[in-house]
Amino acid sequence: MGKTLRYCFLLLGWIAFWPLTILSANVRIEAIFDPSSITLSNRTSYKIVIHGTQSNPQGAVPQVPGLVLSNNPRTFRSASFINGVPSIKAELSFDVSPQREGTFTIPAWQVSVDGKNYQVPPSTLQVLPPNQADIARQKAQQEQDRDLQEAAFLELTTERPFFFKGETRAAKLSLYLWERLPVTKIDQLPQKLGDGFSISELDQPEEKRNVSRGNKIYSVFTWNIGLTGALSGKHTLSFASTIRVRVKGSKNSPFGNPFFNDPFFGFGREQALEIQSRTYDFEVRDLPSQGRPADFQGAVGSFSASSSIDLDRVSLGDPVRLKFVIQGKGNFSAMPAPAFPESDRFRAGPPAFSFEGNQITKYQGSQSFEYVLTPLTAGLLEVPTMQFPYFDPEQEKYFTATTSAHPLRVDPGEKWAQPPSQASPEKSDLTRISTRDLFQTESEPGTWAPSPSIVHPLQSGLFWTLQAVGCLIFALVLFLKVRKKDPRRDALLRKERVLQGKLSSAVKLKDGSSFYQNLRKILRLRIGLVCGHDHPAALSTHELIGLLQKNHFSGEVCSETENLLRQCDDEEYAASSGSAQALQVHYQQTTALLKKMKRR
């Protein structure tokens, strides 16, 4: 029963909502300003309502001079029934700030929804002059800004009030914070306002405390920056930053300097405070055209150049590294690599860059360009001089830094031969490889990889397999070493080897006395080893045989051992020297007997 009811509900639900899917075919677009009439100091919303779809639209809102639209719209999607009629829509809402009075119209524009283009209708906004309330608010704001300006401000220090276009100069940007201002943190680092200049990235600031200015004591944060003139003409430049201060949390005191009313600045809420520097006027002058070298590439500063090669003798086809170094002060961040002179004796690849000095300002230091040269012909060659033209802003003249040529001996390769027909393709290859040829399309895909991801060694089976192999080798060596390390046994075995040597030489020399003495010793030693007796030298023949029997040696071994030991006793006490044949026979018997004992 319950299952049937569930199916009924599902069916009803589908019947109720299926028209929504059909609706997506009928797309209708509206565009309005809400409200459509505002005063200059207020904001409004530009809304685009797309009926009949909830898909993400694509397109670009036309820009209208005098209106500033927010970068990211707010998005709303809704589905509803109005008088039993289903309806779906998507709505995009941009914040709009007017910059001047007047009537503004955003013209009709195209938007793409689900791959189809639709037209967004034009919409109009009327911006009225500010009313009395706006003017009063502006005045209050100006007064507050004046007060705050003394509590926290930014100051730019430069050497001179004009730049040459492309010139980089070191400057200091200082943030002054009144010591009584309850600053909790610098929320946003100073940002540049003005288009005529570019600045380097801001590094960690230098901090100075108890700096007196006027009647106030400040903490000063100073950043060393590189300031570069980008556009010629007269420009204004200012900086803005945001700090976070703790303010009195009174609702009766709107942000009318709330912390000045609180003598302790202790408790309350945090609030962001925007700081702006005064506006500085700078002139960016064009570089003079008179005396400009033809190969000038925009380097402005005071420089010296040097070069070196890593080898002075190579074989044909081997690469040589040419290092070209520029030192001094100037616009290193915008410095292009000087072109290697065209030559039919060398082919040069694109250079590698490296800068030594302050990486943030890139104003003072040395810039290296490393070219990989390939000699194209054998003989005593000369790596040509390189020229680096630059404009010196202090002397206001162009100069050219020149390096010296480097002799290079190129030995002919064994298989190398320059076919005359290939001369022209070689040259075309030379022109193809260029530092400026940045966007060349590769016509072959190259090596494929499943993904650009990286496999960490600890997550790789291969790595752990290699560890296991290493560990296994170490364990094996350790095991062999431990097994071998038994000093008593090693000493006895060494002694046995020495005795065997003596026995053998006694047979050769037919020295019966020495032979039987050593024979007895070696038998005792062996019996001690195989029976685990520590002092076999102290045992008599009878005790030795008893020891063998105790350790379950065969009767044959026992009797042979007894015979040999008795023979030794007889020979020793009878002082007879055995014949050479007897010594040989006893030697062979002893060797066989020792082997039998060893096998046990």
Partner: protein, 272 residues
Amino acid sequence: MTFRLIKFLLGIAVVAFPLLGNEGHRLFYEAVRAEANGELRNAVDLYLEASAFGHSANLHGNLANLYFKLEKYGHSILHYRKALLLRPDDREFAANLAFAQEIAGVANPATSSTDPAFSTSHTWAWALTLSLFIWGGLTLFCILLPHRLSKSSAWSFLTLWIGLIAFLSWATQQSSLQSHLLTREVIVIHPQTVLPNPGSPVPLRRFAGDGSSANTEVKPGECLFLDLNDQGTPKSHPNAEGMVWYLLRSQDGKKKGWLKEDEFSPILGQLD
């Protein structure tokens, strides 16, 4: 009958498998042709389609070039980084990346300022050298110590070995940290939606919502790092519309805020 069926199936397999393997190649060549004909957007789509079958440095390099021509600098920088990941020593890609970053007004990412010796591409080399020195040193010590080394030589050997192991462990750790950082690194891109100016900065919001005010802004092409939670996964928040927001920050920690999933792309191409 069965024999014929087996023959037929074998024939299909012989023809179909190479075709499947060459699909990426085919799409790549079609994209090159489309680009040559000036159909840049079509070429981009074809390259993206080819990347579903595999990745190559040239594919990402070409894609980055196309995005640059279309003035989508964020996407361009993203694909140059991918190309360099697949072929780290390619000077041309590195030069193009620097140029794209310069045009986009984006500073070089902080990861490039670390010593190249401890870069991600050297993690394996450091780890293998470390394990070689550990096991090799132990084995050599085991062989030499009992008889062939005097006490002073043994101490010198041990000190040198421990010093080398310490240095190699540190180097492996540094390289591993770079690898870990790379898994969290993303490039800011513009979403494929309505915007007044495609080159405008993307706001880093205070909260995970469209209506939230922004802490600060980032330019397309800037690199940020995903914040991780206690479980080691990115801090994220899905909203009612199914869009997921992620908390990101710059490497120096000065910029921090929430971005939608379509406003950035990880360099390694996956969000865990």
